[in-house]
């Protein structure tokens, strides 16, 4: 007879656990301090200016928000697409999704010119604004995933977890469409203004979200010494590979479309072949480190069954994803507005020239603080509620698990969980 899965809180009383929480707490405090300083002094102490109006905080925030929606993938695959192997991972997936979104939103709010007016943002709405839609999409996402988690964790409501999961799945697709459309609907800027940005953001969410999930899952199982079988690791590795490839495909199509239109040759040359940081970040950061190398790690047999390599690939995806966000958000603004097509133009207001931006320590501090807050929520959550199975050994989670493989499987899984 198959053993049952038991979900249990982590003990969370080891010095290691508290050390990690203390470190995260310090990063959160530094982030809050940075936000206070920026708010107090005004944004002139940041790298942002009237040319580059969205800076490093937005790179972090949009990354976290996009990853939040993607982190829910694992739960969706279980509830919506009925894949049994993902079921034990579903509660953690929901928790990570909510945590990342909260972390991202904190950054976004604290970077506002008037963060004290959050209540205004919640009470005055212009429903033609994609930002206004997003306020509902984000808060709605948190509420829906909370209900979904409740349905998953409360045995009496388990039956309802499937419709709740389906609803959350559709909602998060709309959410990432909304995030992509913040840029996609900007008609005036040549680097944006493309409907394909919405699907690009959806695919990026799949990849970035899963990468964050992989690291947290493996990290937590390794830290708590709970068994993590290679069936899970292997499945996540393959899935990550597929997501990386689809992101690459959509980004390629996005750039090919732009390259075909003569009027966009300037901005494409700027992003893809410019004498600037953006081209470097795109090719070296996003394409090579963030896509090609992790793609090989995720697809080649030599890296099979290795949690360590999956973490490596996931870290590279995150680094590449941040690089890509930087290129999209900052690079897209740095390229000057084509206010007078056919003319060369200049002014004291930096018209017609490439915008300059150097991220300040405060913006990076705020971004890291938000990310630390997201991780802290996850670590606190798994101590308070039963998000995690005691064991994810192959014998428990793999529907195709057979007794013959058992002998060979057990020690390997044990070793990898500690890898």
């Amino acid at each position: 007879m198959k053993e049952l899965l038991h979900y249990r809180e982590i003990p969370g009383n080891s010095p290691g656990y508290y050390a990690v929480l203390a470190m995260l707490g310090l990063l959160i405090a530094l982030g809050l301090g940075a936000a206070y300083y920026m708010e107090h002094q005004g944004h002139h102490v940041t790298g942002m200016n009237n040319q580059i109006v969205w800076g490093m905080p937005h790179v972090f925030a949009v990354f976290l928000i996009v990853a939040a929606s993607g982190a829910l993938n694992v739960a969706s695959i279980s509830s919506v697409f009925n894949k049994k192997l993902y079921k034990p991972l579903a509660p953690l997936s929901g928790l990570v999704a909510v945590a990342l979104l909260i972390g991202g939103l904190c950054i976004l709010v604290l970077d506002l010119g008037r963060p004290d007016r959050l209540i205004v943002a919640m009470t005055y709405y212009n429903f033609k604004s994609i930002f206004a839609w997003n306020i509902f999409l984000y808060t709605g996402f948190i509420a829906i995933v909370a209900v979904y988690l409740w349905m998953m964790l409360e045995r009496r409501f388990n039956k309802l977890s499937k419709p709740a999961g389906f609803f959350a799945f559709v909602w998060r697709l709309i959410l990432t469409t909304g995030t992509g459309s913040i840029f996609g609907f900007l008609v005036a800027r040549q680097a944006y203004d493309a409907a394909i940005l919405a699907p690009v953001f959806i695919l990026m969410s799949f990849s970035f979200g899963l990468a964050v999930f992989n690291i947290l899952l493996i990290g937590i199982y390794s830290g708590t010494r709970r068994p993590l079988g290679d069936a899970v690791v292997e499945r996540l590795r393959k899935l990550q590979g597929v997501f990386i490839a689809t992101v690459l495909f959509f980004v390629t199509i996005f750039h090919l479309t732009s390259l075909y239109a003569t009027e966009r040759h300037g901005v494409m040359k700027f992003i893809l072949d410019g004498d600037n940081v953006y081209s470097g970040l795109f090719w070296l950061g996003f394409v090579l480190i963030g896509s090609l190398i992790p793609l090989l790690i995720c697809l080649l047999n030599g890296f099979k069954n290795s949690a360590r390599w999956l973490v490596t690939a996931s870290l590279m995806v995150i680094a590449g994803g941040m690089a890509h966000m930087y290129v999209i958000i900052i690079g897209g603004q740095a390229y000057p507005l084509d206010m007078f097509p056919g003319y060369e133009f200049s002014s004291s207001f930096f018209d017609g020239v490439v915008g300059t931006y150097t991220p300040s320590i405060y913006e990076i501090g705020l971004g890291i603080g938000g990310a630390a807050f997201a991780i802290a929520i996850v670590l606190a959550g798994i101590k308070i509620l039963r998000f995690l199975p005691l064991s994810l050994a192959n014998s428990l989670v793999d529907p195709h698990y057979s007794a013959e493989a058992k002998e060979a499987d057990k020690p390997v899984a044990g070793k990898q969980a500690r890898a």
Partner: protein, 250 residues
């Protein structure tokens, strides 16, 4: 005797004459003032879409080294600089254009174009960016949260974010750190029946007036007549935002 009396009579006459003139002036003055005010919009009357304020800017008349409009705007609206050009606000700026094919170069003032379909208003999450019935695009400083999405959306780079504490504000022009602002078409002056500061300053220059202010909806206004009889264009007309600011000479 008679000489003395005649003198007194003369004084009397003069006194009465001057007195009458004063009384007359005092009686007429309120009427004259009222007449002026009647041409402006009374303070308690809502703005209407019957008028649409706008500029017609003739780049041919805009001298390269003249920045009278910029200086007038800064003074009128209390736009102080901090010596940080990257973050200092600019409501109006002079742009120099050079045609890449012909090398012909011109300069022109650029400010908020007060679009009929303003993208900044579309994207503003709280509705702080809004368009008045008379076509003036403004920011409600009380509900702007400083998200800068409008700055991302504006095709004319017309808006500035206030990056630091501002002091010495003009009484009619509230500004505040952490909010976004742009040319208000000197709405406070327009509501008093005056013309925007830049247009007024431009008219006083040797080459001017390059900036003509008026009601685009009134077929008898000077601006509407000139737009009807002379060629003009809108910047990035392909966006079809129908800007209230039109240009000649580009």
């Amino acid at each position: 005797m008679s000489q003395q009396e005649n003198k007194i009579d003369e004084y009397r006459r003069r006194f009465l004459g001057k007195g009458a003139a004063l009384v007359g002036a005092a009686a007429l003055a309120p009427g004259v003032i009222l007449h002026t005010i009647a041409h402006a919009k009374p303070a308690d009357e809502a703005v209407t879409s019957k008028v649409r304020w706008g500029f017609l800017i003739d780049a041919n008349k805009c001298a390269e080294n003249c920045d009278a409009c910029v200086r007038a705007c800064d003074e009128e609206n209390g736009i102080t600089k901090f010596g940080r050009p990257q973050t200092d606000a600019q409501w109006i700026r002079k742009i120099t254009l050079r045609n890449k094919q012909t090398n012909h170069s011109i300069t022109l003032p650029m400010m908020c174009q007060h679009c009929e379909h303003p993208p900044c208003v579309d994207v503003c999450p709280t509705g702080a960016s809004f368009k008045r019935a008379d076509g003036i695009v403004l920011v409600d400083k009380h509900i702007c949260i400083g998200c800068r999405y409008c700055m991302m959306a504006c095709p004319y780079k017309a808006r500035s974010f206030i990056h630091e504490t501002v002091t010495g504000q003009a009484p009619d022009v509230p500004r505040g750190k952490g909010t976004v602002e742009s040319c208000t078409l000197c709405v406070h002056r327009v509501d008093r029946g005056e013309t925007p500061a830049c247009a007024e300053a431009c008219a006083k220059t040797q080459e001017g007036p390059a900036i003509l202010f008026g009601d685009l909806n009134d077929p008898n206004s000077k601006i509407a007549k000139r737009l009807a009889s002379e060629p003009s264009s809108a910047v990035r007309a392909d966006f079809r935002l129908d800007p209230g600011v039109r240009y000649q000479g580009i």
